[in-house]
């Protein structure tokens, strides 16, 4: 894992890899939160120019390598079954937000993710050994990510979990989550972040900070 990741002080720049339903939804809320966002699919940015223009105004379509080079945070919004073919060197030295989930009935059986000793983000971290992986945004539906945003202090503000082995990266992504419009539940390891996975107590469920804490504590105690 990269020991120190240099982040530009004000708002880190974000590269979203993937221009599907998840990538475009994430790019929109990140632009709204005031971040400098670029978006890339596989291949020529011309192929996603229309999608970016209409669905993610303010996020520049780029080649993946250009988007990543000019970024501090990379959001991996590719289908999980493509991850095995993803080149780890592309995101070397970057904070990588892993919002993917492994759910065999939908993704098909992915051998890489079938290791019961690890959560899916731990497996992503093992493969992206020179990046700092942060697990976040995986347990909220992409279609809720926009509509459920609230100002800080709103009584109905929801909470999202952020987990990482790296405290600095955890802080950076926690700030992003808060600026997008959610309270933050921090877990200090990707291992602990397994609690956000499909089948867990907060997956696909909209919960506030207290409900989230309760659910996680119950799971840890069990």
């Amino acid at each position: 894992m990269a020991s120190t990741t240099q982040i530009s002080p004000a708002r880190p720049r974000i590269a979203v890899l993937g221009a599907g339903h998840v990538g475009t939804a994430f790019a929109r809320v990140a632009v709204d939160a005031g971040y400098d966002v670029s978006i890339a699919a596989s291949g020529d940015p011309e192929r996603i120019a229309l999608i970016a223009q209409i669905l993610t105004p303010g996020a520049a379509p780029r080649w993946a390598v250009d988007a990543v080079t000019a970024s501090d945070i990379v959001v991996l919004a590719i289908p999980l079954h493509r991850f095995a073919a993803f080149d780890p060197s592309l995101v070397r030295g970057k904070i990588v937000i892993d919002l993917m989930n492994y759910w065999a009935p939908i993704d098909g059986v992915q051998t890489m993710f079938e290791d019961p000793r690890y959560g899916s983000s731990e497996i992503v971290q093992h493969r992206l050994a020179d990046s700092t992986v942060v697990k976040a945004f995986n347990h909220i539906g992409y279609h809720e990510l926009e509509s459920e945003r609230r100002e800080p202090g709103s009584p109905d503000r929801r909470a999202l979990g952020v987990a990482s082995d790296d405290p600095a990266a955890l802080d950076t992504v926690a700030t992003l989550v808060d600026r997008i419009g959610y309270d933050v539940i921090r877990l200090d390891s990707l291992r602990a972040g397994r609690v956000f996975e499909p089948g867990g107590p907060v997956f696909g469920v909209l919960v506030n900070y207290e409900e989230f804490e309760d659910a996680v504590e119950r799971r840890v105690a069990a």
Binding site: A19, G20, H21, T24, L50, I51, Q53, I54, L55, P79, H81, N101, W103, P105, I106, D107, G108, Q110, G141, Y142, H143, E144, E146, S147, P198, G199, F203, G204, V205, L206
Partner: protein
């Protein structure tokens, strides 16, 4: 903007062939469920519903794997209603066979066939027919490409990686009046919106949860993409689940237990959250995706959402698994005799 005035307003019904129950709540056989669907389609025609669609599924609780056969039976007993899929899982099918089956339906029905193509809503078809789910994107792209060629008429010359090549192939039956209407069903993938525009297929938005308004940008993307590819404006439709009964209270009381059971069951295999009464109440309200209530409630919601989404067509996915045939027939009758005229009046 594509408003209901740009294209005629179309109000249809879709079913996934959900297994129905008898009066005591016991599930009926697959065979009886299928015979009941034929009766539902016939009733839909007689009460003035514009379209009857059947979504391909391959499971014990959705045994409608051969939608076109059922549609053929309905075609033989109806005059006016348009008939089609909702959706055909093209990725795991052979485009040549899909074309042949629906051009046959077009012949039987006297030109009333349509197809809505989908990428992979029913994932069960992939292992069943020997396809790898991971390949759905490439499979859908190639097969959509071939389907577009087939619709142009014979002879067809095509080659790709997912199917044997065709060289000057005559594919029969030929359609009587040119290509039948073809749509692409989109659940949230922007690429699928652009793909529909590229091939000149109409856009069917499947909105099954959350706020319908979030799909509005897709209408903009579709129009922009049509212009980009030099194609004329095409219709946009919306497909959403719901249930209609005499009153709001009755519709909710009938639908909620069935919805809870079906979605809870699906959640075990698909990773959805189990719905709560609070999430259900949100979904049946103005910000949600479900159309559950009296004819007036459902008509008002359709009439509010179509213009907001730039759509001229609405297909109600009725028949949540476990409802009785009697309740489904009431739903269809109320939709045809009250909801449809009311929506036409509201959107006048």
């Amino acid at each position: 903007m594509n408003t209901p005035s740009t294209f005629p307003l179309v109000l249809g019904l879709d079913t996934f062939g959900d297994v129905t129950s008898d009066a005591d709540g016991h599930p009926l056989s697959h065979a009886q469920t299928i015979r009941d669907i034929v009766e539902q389609g016939v009733l839909a025609d007689s009460v003035g519903v514009d379209y009857f669609g059947i979504g391909e599924h391959h499971t014990d609780d959705f045994p409608l794997s051969a939608a076109d056969v059922v549609l053929g039976a309905i075609a033989a007993r109806t005059q006016k209603i348009r008939l089609g899929s909702a959706v055909t899982v093209l990725s795991s099918d052979d485009p040549v066979r899909v074309f042949q089956r629906y051009s046959t339906l077009d012949a039987i029905s006297g030109g009333r066939a349509e197809v809505i193509l989908g990428r992979g809503s029913s994932v069960d078809s992939f292992p069943l027919f020997g396809y790898n789910l991971s390949d759905y994107e490439e499979l859908f792209e190639e097969k959509t490409n071939l389907f577009a060629e087939l619709l142009k008429g014979s002879p067809v010359t095509w080659q790709g990686r997912t199917r044997a090549a065709l060289t000057n192939q005559d594919v029969v039956p030929h359609t009587e009046h040119g290509p039948f209407p073809t749509w692409i069903g989109v659940g949230g993938s922007p690429q699928s919106v652009v793909r529909a525009a590229r091939y000149g297929f109409s856009l069917m938005l499947a909105i099954i949860g959350g706020s319908p308004a979030r799909f509005a940008p897709f209408a903009g993307l579709f129009h922009e993409a049509l212009e980009h590819f030099g194609r004329p404006l095409l219709p946009i439709g919306v497909h959403s689940p719901g249930h209609i009964a005499g009153t709001d209270e009755q519709a909710q009381a009938e639908f909620w237990p069935r919805y809870l059971e079906v979605i809870s069951h699906v959640s075990k295999t698909r990773g959805f959250a189990v719905p709560s009464k609070a999430s259900f109440d949100h979904e049946i309200g103005p910000e949600g995706a479900l159309y559950v209530g009296s004819p007036e409630t459902v008509a008002q919601k359709i009439a509010a959402n179509l213009p907001a989404l730039g759509a001229n067509r609405f297909d109600l996915k009725y028949a949540m698994g476990g409802l009785s045939q009697e309740k489904l027939m009431t739903n269809i009758e109320l939709y045809g005799t009250q909801v449809i005229p009311r929506v036409r009046e509201l959107l006048g």
